[in-house]
């Protein structure tokens, strides 16, 4: 048996942080930890993966993997599982990760625990804690059968510093053109100088209380001072003040930053679903009864238009 595998999320050679989180967490256990990377010209990523704990780095290098496509990636992974028999395989709970993991699981007639926030993997057994009902309950589930498959929520684990040997294992290319079923006609990257919402250490969010673009500008100013990502409630997204990709909550993104600052957000249950697991929560709201204060570590009952400018100058001191 070949230990636990982590599927590497990367785009154009940039590895997503969640990959390092998974490698680091697994490295704490005794089993062999391997990173599995598919792409074109990706062998050079091995040292970076080793740095965060990969004992081995399986590489499938071919033009067919140049950009993510579910069909070819699933075919390749299924062939490699057959050849190397890993005990468990973890994916990021991301757009591509969950697509690939679900399709692979079905191809293998296997179970899959998605959006896990904790894992206990040993001796070929995998028990995962999943957040259900938008975080209002937790389910501990066992994935029976082999390999054990799961997708892990970004941000639940910390990036560590224990390195692995990073020995490269080149895998034979098993995917063929016939496996590819999706054609990406275009990709418009969200252009932002700010960190990715799902991975940011600090998130500053604005809600309906921002009243318009001027209020959002204050939120952005605070965010930039803290090197934070900007987020929003559905009210501010629906009003068109922020892009839809910035919605935090049940139908938006789930964020797990060290600090979440809610500005002019009431704290509706669907919003809390996306941010209540943040390590520290601060809230600025004029309504002392606002439910956001039930989850905040530090709340100020005040007007954000007055508080944020002073806060910014105080922080700069």
């Amino acid at each position: 048996m070949a230990g636990t595998w982590v599927f590497v999320e990367q785009k154009d050679g940039n590895i997503r942080k969640v990959t390092f989180e998974m490698l680091s967490e697994l490295k704490k256990g005794g089993d062999e930890v391997s990173a599995v990377v598919f792409g074109k010209g990706v062998e050079g990523l091995a040292p970076e993966l080793a740095k965060f704990g990969a004992d081995k780095v399986y590489v499938a290098d071919d033009a067919i993997f140049a950009s993510y496509n579910t069909g070819a990636f699933v075919a390749q992974m299924a062939a490699m599982i057959k050849e190397f028999s890993p005990n468990a395989l973890l994916f990021a709970h991301s757009f591509n990760g969950r697509d690939m993991a679900s399709r692979l699981a079905q191809k293998l007639d296997a179970g899959l625990a998605t959006d896990a926030v904790a894992a206990d993997i040993s001796a070929g057994k995998g028990i995962f804690t999943r957040s259900i009902y938008a975080g209002k309950a937790l389910a501990k589930v066992e994935v029976t059968g082999s390999p054990v498959l799961a997708t892990i929520r970004p941000g639940v684990w910390e990036v560590g510093s224990t390195a692995g040997a990073g020995a490269v294992v080149k895998a034979a290319v098993a995917a063929t053109a016939g496996d590819v079923y999706q054609v990406e006609k275009s990709f418009a990257a969200t252009v932002s100088a700010r960190p990715d919402l799902a991975e940011a250490a600090v998130v500053v969010s604005g809600g309906r209380g921002c009243k318009g673009p001027d209020g959002i500008k204050l939120v952005e100013q605070l965010a930039d001072l803290l090197g934070a990502a900007v987020g929003g409630s559905r009210a501010s997204i629906d009003s068109g003040w922020l892009g839809h990709e910035l919605q935090v909550g049940q139908t938006g993104k789930v964020v797990l930053p060290n600090l979440y600052v809610a500005c002019g957000i009431s704290g509706a249950i669907q919003h809390l679903a996306g941010m209540s697991s943040s390590k520290f929560i601060a809230a600025i709201n004029t309504d002392t009864e606002a439910p956001i204060f039930n989850v905040s570590d530090f709340g100020v009952v005040s007007d954000l238009f007055k508080v944020i400018p002073i806060l910014v100058s105080e922080l700069k001191k």
Binding site: A134, A139, H244
Partner: protein
């Protein structure tokens, strides 16, 4: 073009979750059609209004309670329904196998579903159905165009917006920002009562997931709350950010 829409009856998103005998209690809970599925139903109806779809069949797997989700979709404008009777404890694998078998018998050109259910949050079933049927799948779509045997979908990918093209028949899963689902009209509700709903038994397969334990997260306790002039509030908040959170200021 025949379109199938997979729907699921879920708890209202406002519902307070409580446990009874180690399981999530549904006592007194208002049930709704999963909001993501509701968007898929609306998407199908819009395709029919454009003359692209000819028939809309809604399908659900589970207990008789799912009938309400079917009736809601029929009242919105779907043509007929299928209830696949299945144990409520079926996991994503068993659900997908049961749904795929019933869908296959219908031979559709497009299968729509919400990309995730508001209750279990699994986001697996549509993808698994696609794999069983050997169809392409496009996830988290916010728009679709059908032409020349192809579905061109706008999706919310990681880090941006992608336009993805696949051949039909295909499975496509919706994001809530795709559309604004209509409320069923009085006429729609009356008509829905007369629309046919078939009941079939699920293919029997074993689960691949075992639930070990269900629990409620530790309640978050409210922290400090300051009610004072804006400058006092701001200064204290800045101190807390610097000293307790230890933020880095750029």
């Amino acid at each position: 073009m025949k379109v199938i829409v997979c729907v699921k009856q879920t708890f209202d998103t406002e519902a307070k979750i409580e446990l009874k005998d180690g399981k999530i209690s549904d006592a007194g809970i208002n049930l709704i059609i999963n909001p993501y599925d509701e968007v898929a139903v609306e998407g199908a109806i819009q395709l029919k209004e454009k003359g692209v779809a000819t028939e809309i069949v809604v399908i659900t797997a589970g207990s008789d309670k799912g009938m309400d989700a079917i009736r809601t979709a029929l009242a919105m404008g779907a043509d007929r329904g299928i209830l696949v009777k299945q144990d409520t404890g079926a996991d994503e694998y068993a659900r997908a196998v049961a749904l795929a078998a019933a869908i296959k018998a219908e031979n559709p050109e497009l299968v729509l579903a919400g990309h995730v259910a508001a209750d279990d949050g699994s986001s697996q079933v549509p993808t698994r159905i696609a794999e069983i049927l050997g169809f392409p799948h496009v996830n988290v779509i916010t728009n679709i165009d059908i032409a020349g045997g192809k579905a061109t979908c706008t999706t919310e990918a990681d880090g941006g917006t992608a336009v993805i093209e696949v051949a039909i028949p295909a499975v496509v899963s919706s994001q809530v920002s795709w559309n604004e689902p209509r409320y069923p009209s009085m006429k729609g509700i009356m008509q829905a009562k007369k629309k046919p709903v078939a009941t079939v038994d699920a293919v029997a397969v074993d689960n691949k997931i075992k639930i070990v334990e269900v629990s409620l997260p530790a309640a978050k306790t409210a922290g400090i709350k300051i009610e004072d002039d804006a400058d006092v509030c701001a200064t204290k908040l800045a101190d807390w950010m610097k000293n307790t959170v230890k933020v880095e200021v750029k």
